[in-house]
Symmetry: C2
């Protein structure tokens, strides 16, 4: 049984390593966009390969532990949560790649406007990811629930970004191609936030055994 | 042990029931778009509630079976695949809702063009989902591998749709709002195809124990 705890700890560490890589890939993808830096975008593509490898490693490790040790109760919840979190992190890596690809595509055009709301949305989304991982590390359901509440703010920013970009396209047809790229970036950021929300939901389930998917979440007092 | 097989069969059935619901929701969402029918869009929102309930039921059932019966080998692979397929199906349900919402939004504008490529893309994507579920029912890795090969065709159609819509927006700024909605529909269909691909990958793993994620797939002879 002590061997099993060690292996669980190893899985936990691997998952955090993956979380760190994904967080860095997201940050770089937004930086490549804001700084118009193609080299940084290329780094994201390299990060993704490592993320994909780690996904498979973690998946194999988690499945093997399920098979060999037949865990129950909290250990079982931890393993099933780890497998889900692993999938969410891998998808986030894919979304960082999407953003980096848009950044490269935007290099062919002069910038249509200084980017303000997109970096703001990105900071919010990165904070959600960091907090959901922090909640997972500490096994803290309160931190996880706070992540769930940020989702509305992300949606509001996305709506503001869409509205502004539609206006741009209507007023100046030469901006259409760039504006479309930026809309998809906003969409990808929103999806990263959704995956952070999934992780936070898994943490609540792991810690409290309560399933908060598809339900309204009570606001926390500050 | 016989009791366990019965429960596995129950899980299998529930998952297929969910697959049927999701498939129907996707079909209705595209119909609401093509026929400009708000009532059909509303049905999709109702379907989604049932899909969300089923997701939680299947997740609980799968996790309970893992805990109680400590399955190994193929039964273990089946259970972990079932949990993943469940997540993919639920996300597809969300995407059908996105499409239905776009369909409602488009009702406020006169149609900018007859929809041809989007229904074509939708047929392809629906066929991918049906085939991935068929592969799961029959435990047939060949059918699953055929699904993986359709993904490129979906991407080509998406590119054609984007290109056409960008041209529309550039030539006539009054089409921007509708064209953006249609672009997001194409994007949602592409993501549904991605989830069908995930299911097909899980089936290959389930049947053959080979992990085909993140790898080139050998083309099948016709």
């Amino acid at each position: 049984m002590r061997h099993f705890s060690l292996e669980l700890e190893g899985l936990h560490e691997r998952l955090l390593q993956m979380g760190g890589l994904v967080e860095s890939a997201i940050r770089k993808s937004v930086r490549s966009l804001v700084d118009r830096d193609g080299n940084v975008a290329e780094q994201v593509f390299q990060d993704e390969e490592r993320i994909n490898q780690l996904e498979i490693e973690i998946d194999n490790l988690g499945t093997r532990l399920l098979a060999l040790h037949q865990p129950v109760a909290r250990d079982l919840r931890f393993l099933t949560a780890a497998l889900k979190i692993n999938t969410d992190l891998e998808r986030m890596g894919d979304l960082a790649v999407n953003i980096a690809e848009r950044a490269l595509s935007l290099l062919s055009f002069p910038p249509i406007k200084p980017l303000i709301d997109i970096p703001r949305m990105a900071s919010l989304v990165e904070a959600m990811l960091l907090r959901s991982l922090d909640a997972f590390v500490k096994g803290d359901a309160e931190i996880a629930r706070a992540v769930l509440l940020s989702d509305d703010e992300v949606d509001d920013l996305r709506d503001a970004i869409y509205k502004e970009l539609v206006t741009f396209m209507q007023q100046d047809p030469t901006t259409v191609q760039c504006a479309v790229d930026l809309m998809f970036v906003a969409r990808d950021l929103e999806r990263i936030a959704d995956h952070a929300t999934n992780i936070a939901e898994d943490v609540v389930y792991l810690v409290q055994g309560i399933d908060v998917r598809h339900r309204a979440v009570e606001p926390l007092e500050r």
